[in-house]
């Protein structure tokens, strides 16, 4: 029986709506637009929840800039995450709303204004037991 060869560790996006480029500067958020009704989704889609069609869908690049819709400041977090931190919903320029962390500012309500401009960056955030690394996106004030 052939010995199983260990796969080389990979760099993987933490979410399917993040497409990794050759460098972190080339990473981008991806989306899908339903050709039947025009609804823009974050990430890949097979079917449309709005018009109940199977599209088809155009795969599109989503903006890396947007504005703060709402936020919360998490003080009690899951064990592997450092608190406090800012969790937010960001409305991307040109459409699409996403969950994200806002970093680069102290997590206080005074530092956050609804509608404030934000921009995306990506970074490695974790590693699994096989040595694969995971990249996530975050937002910071623009």
């Amino acid at each position: 029986m052939a010995e199983a060869t260990a796969a080389a560790p990979e760099l993987r996006p933490l979410v399917p709506h993040l497409t990794l480029g050759a460098t972190r500067e080339e990473d981008y958020l991806n989306g899908s637009v339903c050709k039947n009704c025009g609804t823009k989704y974050v990430g890949p889609r097979l079917f449309c929840a709005k018009c109940s069609s199977s599209g088809p869908f155009d795969t599109v690049k989503l903006a890396s800039t947007g504005e703060l819709h709402v936020y919360t400041i998490i003080h009690q977090a899951t064990p592997y995450v450092k608190a406090p931190y800012i969790a937010a919903i960001v409305d991307l320029d040109g459409g699409g709303s996403i969950n994200t962390n806002i970093v680069g500012i102290e997590p206080t309500p005074e530092n956050l204004q609804f509608g404030m401009r934000l921009k995306m960056f990506t970074e490695k955030v974790s590693e699994d037991n096989e040595g694969n690394s995971y990249v996530a996106y975050r937002f910071t004030p623009a």
Binding site: L14, V15, T39, Y41, V42, A49, K50, H69, V70, Y71, T72, I73, I74, H75, Q76, A77, T78, P79, Y80, V81, P84, Y85, A87, A88, I89, S97, I98, N99, T100, N101, P109, F114, V125, S126, E127, D128, N129, N132, Y134, A136, Y137
Partner: protein, 398 residues
């Protein structure tokens, strides 16, 4: 469809039962509901069992504790609306004419599990890395949408906790029966802005049950049958951000509209409401979703005293709350909200909640609610929302 009556209800005290399992809690609640109804287990023609964590065979396991009569059992899971969905199935079983007497039971054993939704594989979990999906985050952000739109202050949200904790002191079945003045709520440990620890419901264990019967047969069992005037279930319709931040408002508004139409009443006719205050922020959103006040008025509605037992702010809290009031505001409804102490005090054993809040209203309609009795209560609305999302509204009346 025929008229359906509630002829028996029960709720065991919510809390921690480390030495029992959910089926024993459910059996206790079921036997108490049967006793309350004066119905023998052999008269129950079908069982509808709500439990979220032990979905498979939850109802059979309850019957294996207290009555294996061989009847059909339907096990239901529908997020936080699990118990109320089981209740609605029981309602339809009678309304359709399929059965004359059935039981709905809701149970859950949660233990001290910490924050709901906080678990995941540390390597690949999105939690805390790509935003937060924990319930405290979802309802923190849902509250912030209201703050964004209407300028609602953290203090206004906190008043829901002040009120419900005050109500809980007269509810011996509540998990917590402790008052908390405004400064104590505001200064308790921060969990997920704007909600502090005292603005979050606890996890716990519990069970509740109801015996339902066709109205034409109800008087065999009781002199006080309670009519189910509406029983409604909705799911989340497509809205712009629902797939990113669950929209807890639209499906509640849809359910309320259908429920008021079914019952032939409006929010101004309600004596009381038990609504889904899993977090203090949620309570204010649902005042508006259920039509208890106008859009943007939730903060001044709770500060006005209208949703408090007796429709007024207790004297000892008046000074604290005065700065949050709008003296020109005239409440358009007088429904007391969460006389039980709400989920914030009573606890929220997921599958039990939806049956328990119907039981609470029945206690009031019968005049059995003791020190928290809503005087002259004639009609009540029980609302539950489960994330993912499902919403139930049941309207019950004398």
């Amino acid at each position: 469809m025929r008229e359906v009556a509630i002829v028996g209800v029960s709720m065991i005290k919510f809390g921690r039962y480390p030495d029992r399992d959910f089926s024993q809690l459910g059996a206790q609640a079921s036997l108490e509901a049967l006793k309350d109804a004066g119905v023998d287990m052999k008269q129950i023609e079908a069982l509808y069992s709500g439990n979220l964590y032990s979905t498979s065979g939850s109802g059979q396991r309850i019957l294996q504790q207290m009555g294996q009569t061989g009847i059909p059992v339907v096990n239901v899971a529908n997020a936080c609306a699990t118990g109320s969905t089981a209740f609605r199935e029981a309602y339809f079983a009678i309304a359709s004419g399929a059965y004359d007497v059935v039981m709905a039971v809701g149970t859950e054993q949660m233990g001290k599990q910490g924050l709901l939704g906080s678990r995941g594989d540390p390597a690949t979990s999105l939690e805390g890395r790509v935003g937060s999906y924990m319930m405290p985050a979802v309802f923190g952000m849902a509250g912030m949408e209201h703050a964004r739109q209407y300028g609602t202050k953290q203090e206004h949200f906190a008043l829901a906790s002040v009120k419900n904790h005050f109500h809980s002191t007269e509810n011996p079945l509540a998990q917590y029966q402790k008052e908390s003045p405004l400064d104590e709520v505001m200064n308790s440990r921060a969990i997920s802005y704007p909600n502090t620890l005292l603005m979050c419901c606890p996890t716990g264990d519990g069970a509740a049950a109801a015996v339902l019967c066709s109205m034409d047969k109800a008087r065999q069992f009781t002199t006080q049958p309670i009519k189910i005037a509406a029983s409604v279930l909705t799911s989340d319709p497509f809205t712009d951000r629902d797939l990113t931040l669950p929209d807890v408002n639209t499906l509640t508004r849809n359910a309320a509209q259908i429920a008021y139409q079914q019952a032939g009443i409006g929010p101004q006719d309600l004596s009381q409401v038990e609504l889904h205050d899993c977090f203090a922020t949620a309570e204010l959103l649902h005042y508006e979703n259920l039509g208890l006040c106008g859009d943007g008025e939730a903060g001044i509605h709770v500060a006005s005293g209208a949703p408090w037992i007796g429709n007024k702010i207790p004297t000892k809290y008046q000074e604290d709350i005065a700065p949050l009031q709008d003296k020109t505001y005239k409440p358009k409804t007088t429904a007391v909200v969460n006389a039980s102490g709400g989920l914030l005090s009573k606890g929220h054993p997921l599958g039990a909640t939806g049956v328990a809040n119907i039981a609470e209203i029945v206690f009031h309609l019968r005049g059995q609610a003791g020190g928290r009795q809503v005087e002259g209560s004639k009609v009540g609305l029980a609302h539950v929302i489960g994330l993912g999302s499902s919403c139930t509204i049941n309207i019950v009346q004398k």
